[in-house]
């Protein structure tokens, strides 16, 4: 069974917000199929209940908020695309 056919790659690319050319689709489809085939060795690994998200125990440590200005707002306005005192961006709706 082929996991990464062109339709699957297109779907994953759409979710990942990538626009791929036809050539890229073909190339990634073959590459990812080969990689996923190799990754299937994980099916042979025993399961356990001990999965953590970090390789060492990490405590939640919070620091005090210390307000600071890393960059002057005038400099920021000069560097970014602005309209009056607003930073411009693409449409969200």
């Amino acid at each position: 069974m082929r996991w990464m056919d062109l339709e699957v790659v297109k779907r994953v690319a759409r979710i990942a917000r990538l626009e791929l050319t036809d050539q890229e689709l073909e190339e990634f489809s073959d590459d990812l199929e080969e990689i996923l085939d190799y990754l299937s060795v994980l099916d042979e690994a025993p399961s356990c209940e001990c999965a953590g998200f970090n390789p060492i125990p990490v405590e939640d440590i919070l620091r005090d908020d210390e307000p600071s200005l890393d960059m002057d707002s005038a400099d920021l306005r000069e560097l970014m695309d602005t309209y009056q005192d607003w930073v411009r961006g693409p449409r969200l709706a």
Binding site: L39, G52, R91
Partner: protein
């Protein structure tokens, strides 16, 4: 040495080897007792761009120094350059670089290894130079081996990641590369320590640099499978040398290591596929001014235009691994494997101080050979460096031999927070090993 001569020398070297993505513009002077250093281009610096080897970050100049950079400056380090690297660390050979392809100091037809290729090559080319590298799956050890230098990757969380451009948060570690084991040992305490800007650094015990007597070395039984025969022969000679230095070397069964590489590539790509979403074309680096489009199209166009092929491949793999229906099979299973492999190391470390393997299965390949390798072939080349990286274990690559004039390395892995075992071993080895530095055009 005057500042002008430092910059001129760096520029001349860079003209031939392309190890730096950027060199300081103004003159620098290294004071008595100070040293010059460069930083991998995914480590933030005020005075130079930080582009992580990617076009999408072109023009990004951070308003702050990474903690590791700041600390080196505080003890007399002079930052002279940023080092070329694989885009966001995505590569084994430093051939996915947007701002120059670093060449191996021993043979410019060959790669430096990756992804800290520029950092390792700079350390090899310049006596007394220290490089800040970063490792996710072997990006310090691999280029250190290919360039014949010492490359130390500390325990995950030992060095603050504040100011590091994320590849995979649960795997990224800043470390040191140098010709000199002594220099690495001297500067590890400088960059280590708790930093409130990176909570993962705040759980660490104090770094102790002496008092270790690493005498018991374990070699995983299957570590020699898949090696170039010349690497295997050389490694057995290194084992004999270690024995003559008083080390007790025994073989151990570590059968779970075979699951490390697939688990690593799932975790690393899963994390990176979300991390790269911050490069939207508005905040960092390349700015797309076409604001008439909807954000989703704007975002897609920026990524599709400015990310390289390997970055796209890893985003696709990481996105797929986290999708509904596949998450348990890939991502959750990879987390379980990481715990299982970590437990296997822990078991071995109850009776041994160090786990030793070759660093890489072959010498630095030629660029022409790399072109014919598939992405999976390249991933598989990391099978020796990935296990300690997956588990956040401290490790070092030390130069161990030369094959047809090309350097190779041996990798030592120590328990969590036991960097002192590595430092003692490096210093001992440095007193025994005779390096052959390349002839450098200067």
């Amino acid at each position: 040495m005057t500042g002008a001569s430092v910059v001129e020398k760096l520029e001349r070297i860079n003209g031939r080897y392309q190890v730096f993505s950027e060199i300081v513009e103004k003159e620098v002077e290294v004071a008595e007792g100070g040293f010059q250093f460069s930083a991998k281009d995914n480590i933030c610096t005020i005075e130079m761009q930080t582009r992580a080897g990617s076009r999408i970050l072109d023009g990004y100049r951070p308003p702050f120094d990474a903690t590791a950079v700041r600390k080196l400056k505080e003890v007399g380090g002079i930052l002279v350059a940023k080092d070329n690297m694989d885009e966001f660390g995505f590569g084994t050979f430093s051939t996915n670089c947007a701002f120059g392809l670093p060449k191996n100091p021993y043979d410019i037809e060959r790669c430096c290894g990756g992804s800290s290729g520029g950092s390792a090559a700079a350390a090899c080319l310049l006596e007394g130079h220290l490089s800040l590298g970063e490792s996710t799956g072997g990006s310090i050890a691999c280029p250190a081996a290919f360039c014949g230098v010492y490359g130390l990757t500390p325990t995950y969380g030992r060095v603050s990641r504040y100011g590091l451009v994320d590849y995979a948060n649960s795997l990224d570690k800043i470390g040191l590369i140098s010709r000199s084991a002594k220099q690495v040992a001297e500067q590890l305490p400088t960059i280590s320590g708790r930093d409130s800007m990176d909570p993962t650094s705040c759980s660490q015990p104090e770094l102790v640099v002496d008092g270790a007597e690493p005498g018991r070395i374990a070699i995983p039984q299957k570590a020699l499978e898949g090696l170039d025969p010349a690497i295997e022969e050389s490694f057995l000679r290194t084992v004999d040398q270690m024995t003559s230095l008083g080390m007790e070397v025994t073989e151990v069964d570590m059968s779970s290591l075979r699951f490390s590489l697939p688990a690593y590539y799932i975790l690393a790509t899963s994390e990176s596929s979300t991390n790269l979403a911050r490069y939207s074309g508005m905040l960092f680096g390349t700015v797309n001014h076409d604001f008439n489009e909807h954000f989703n199209d704007f975002f897609s166009k920026t990524r599709s235009r400015d990310l390289g092929n390997e970055a796209k491949r890893r985003i696709l793999l990481g996105t797929f691994s986290r999708m509904v229906g596949f998450r348990d099979r890939y991502y959750m299973k990879a987390l379980q494997v990481r715990s299982m492999v970590t437990e296997e190391y822990r078991r071995v470390f109850t009776e041994h101080d160090i786990v030793m393997t070759p660093t890489m299965p072959f010498v630095a390949p030629r660029f022409s050979d790399i072109e014919s390798m598939s992405p999976l072939d390249m991933y598989k080349a990391d099978f020796l460096t990935v296990p300690p990286n997956l588990c956040g274990l401290p490790h070092v690559s030390m130069p161990s031999d030369y094959i047809d004039g090309m350097p190779i390395g041996v990798q030592l892995v120590a328990p969590h927070w036991e960097e002192r075992c590595l430092l003692e071993s490096m210093i001992l080895w440095e007193g025994h090993f005779q390096p052959r530095w390349p002839e450098v055009m200067s």
